[in-house]
């Protein structure tokens, strides 16, 4: 069965035909849209490598059917930087050594962007670790990840104050 869907991905409006409704949002992004930043780890919701924002909320794209997200607004890791200017969360991951092999990193970054937007963890490392617990890091870069999220949170708060 063929389905026609539309989706906004990192600001671009796309019209797509799905010849198989089994396509997950993750496979659509990687194989059809060509955005391979979003990673497939477990494909079962257990690792967070596939985290993207759908209408501003973080979800596991491996447990989402593309067909069920017709009309959605998707942000992937490719949509964060403005040209060569990294998003504050990306910059903080580099500054704080928030990764080793980097496989989990796009998911970690997308999850962190959402965590900061949710606004419930603040600067508290315990709340940050809990809020990031859906993202597993096989290299165990957790200390750097927590520091990166704290740094990005602080920087984004400062930027907000400056622009207010």
């Amino acid at each position: 069965m063929t389905l026609s869907i539309t989706m906004t991905v990192n600001g671009d409006r796309l019209a797509l035909t799905l010849d198989d409704p089994r396509t997950t949002l993750l496979d659509l992004l990687r194989d059809r849209v060509g955005l391979t930043g979003t990673k497939k780890g477990c494909d079962r919701g257990q690792c967070g490598a596939c985290t993207v924002l759908v209408d501003g909320r973080r979800i596991n794209s491996c447990l989402a059917l593309a067909a069920a997200h017709d009309g959605s607004d998707i942000t992937t890791v490719e949509g964060l930087a403005q040209g060569d200017d990294l998003h504050p969360v990306q910059a903080a991951f580099i500054a704080q050594d928030g990764f080793q092999c980097g496989y989990c990193t796009p998911g970690q970054i997308m999850s962190a962007v959402a965590l900061i937007a949710e606004g419930e963890a603040g600067d508290d490392p315990e709340r940050i670790r809990e809020g990031m617990s859906g993202n597993i890091c096989r290299c165990a870069a957790y200390a750097g990840i927590t520091d990166a999220v704290r740094e990005a949170t602080r920087r984004m708060q400062q930027d907000e104050r400056r622009s207010a």
Binding site: M1, L3, D20, P21, R22, T24, D43, R44, G45, G48, T51, R57, R58, I59, N60, L63, A64, L65, A67, A68, S111, A114, L115, E118, D124, E126, R127, R129, E130, G131, S133, G134, N135, I136
Partner: protein, 351 residues
């Protein structure tokens, strides 16, 4: 995954009609169903997307004081809802102790209530399983059964109910509304999650073509708001299913318990409540010895279904721990680690 047809009905009536067709399944958040489809455990020929059905995503105070929660409300939105945080804090704590932020953003109320057991033999299409295939037998028996039931099980099925959310819901006497071809019916949590018996394995009591439309927290259930906790023992600090868990709620009149509610998770095919255990709390002052007696009555008759005898002592202790935490009072702010036994807030006595 086996191929399927994907349809998105525009109305509840259309969804009910579509669901009655053979081999059809409803798709809500998909976090359980898609996983089972990838494993080849669920093989629908038709997937009916109900996630955007109109009118099912609201949380409404009822004229009688109850709270009606639409089946498509996302777990994360419910856990942040001011009325839930204020009136039913253990419900929010249980939700936030479950899965991950990403999964809670996708998972719906209805999907959480109707999620399947995490029994590894249920998840393996090559294993015999009475839940998947009535009469096939139960391959879990004699197998790897650390996570299986210690209460209310039979040789037909020894699986546990996996949901955290359902544990405080059971304690609060929550009900669900179900729309079907013959109209709407309302059932309690215990009825929705039957225990296995000699013939049936205890699947959720919802029939093909029925859509769970709402969850209702009964009027007066916010009386416990000041003393409500959910405590969950896991094999890692976060993002893991419960080994055992407990929801405890006390309605306090000064230093005396007016009424108490207590339910265990991770021990049976449904959240486990015993009226006689709760009755022991009424009119008493909170006290470790009393709580221990209550936990003893709650776990009376518990017996291992395999390699899980250790869960009986853990269940008893988690019940005491939840009661102690509830007696100390609901924390003003959600703990950094919701439901955790490592929570730094409150004065938790180690038992």
């Amino acid at each position: 995954m086996t191929p399927f047809e994907f349809i998105r009905p525009a109305t509840l009536a259309e969804a009910v009609a579509a669901g009655a067709e053979p081999d059809s399944r409803y798709l809500a958040g998909g976090t359980n169903l898609l996983d089972l489809m990838k494993l080849g455990v669920a093989v629908p020929r038709r997937l009916i997307d109900i996630s955007r059905l109109p009118g099912l995503d609201r949380i409404e105070a009822q004229p009688d004081g109850g709270l009606r929660i639409g089946a498509m409300v996302r777990n994360s939105d419910l856990a942040r809802d001011p009325a839930v945080l204020r009136g039913h804090p253990a419900v929010a704590e249980a939700l936030l102790s479950g899965a991950s932020a990403q999964l809670r953003n996708a998972a719906t109320v209805g999907g959480n209530l109707l999620q399947q057991t995490r029994c590894p033999y249920f998840q393996d299409p090559a294993a015999a399983c009475n839940r998947r295939d009535p009469g096939a037998g139960c391959e879990a028996i004699g197998g790897v059964t650390r996570g299986h039931a210690v209460l209310g099980w039979t040789e037909t099925c020894i699986a546990t109910h996996a949901s955290d959310f359902c544990v405080p819901l059971a304690a609060l006497d929550a009900r669900v509304e179900i729309a079907g071809p013959g109209g709407t019916r309302e059932v309690g949590m215990a009825e929705l999650h039957p225990l296995p018996d000699e013939d049936s394995a205890g699947n959720p009591a919802i029939r093909p073509g029925e859509v769970l439309t709402a969850l209702v927290l009964p009027p007066g259930s916010d009386a416990f708001a000041g003393h409500s906790r959910y405590v969950k023992l896991r094999e890692r600090t976060s993002f893991a299913f419960a080994v055992v868990s407990a929801a405890a709620m006390l309605d306090m009149d000064g230093g005396t318990i007016r009424a108490g509610r207590l339910a265990l998770g991770g021990v049976a095919a449904r959240p486990w409540r015993v009226a006689e255990a709760e009755a022991l709390l009424a009119g008493q002052a909170p006290d470790a010895e009393l709580f221990d007696r209550v936990a003893g009555v709650l776990t009376e008759g518990a017996h291992p279904s395999g390699q899980n005898g250790f869960k009986i002592a853990l269940a008893r202790r988690i019940a005491v721990r939840a009661l102690v935490a509830a007696a100390a009072g609901t924390p003003a702010r959600m703990p950094a680690l919701p439901g955790s036994v490592f929570a730094s807030e409150g004065d938790l006595t180690h038992v």
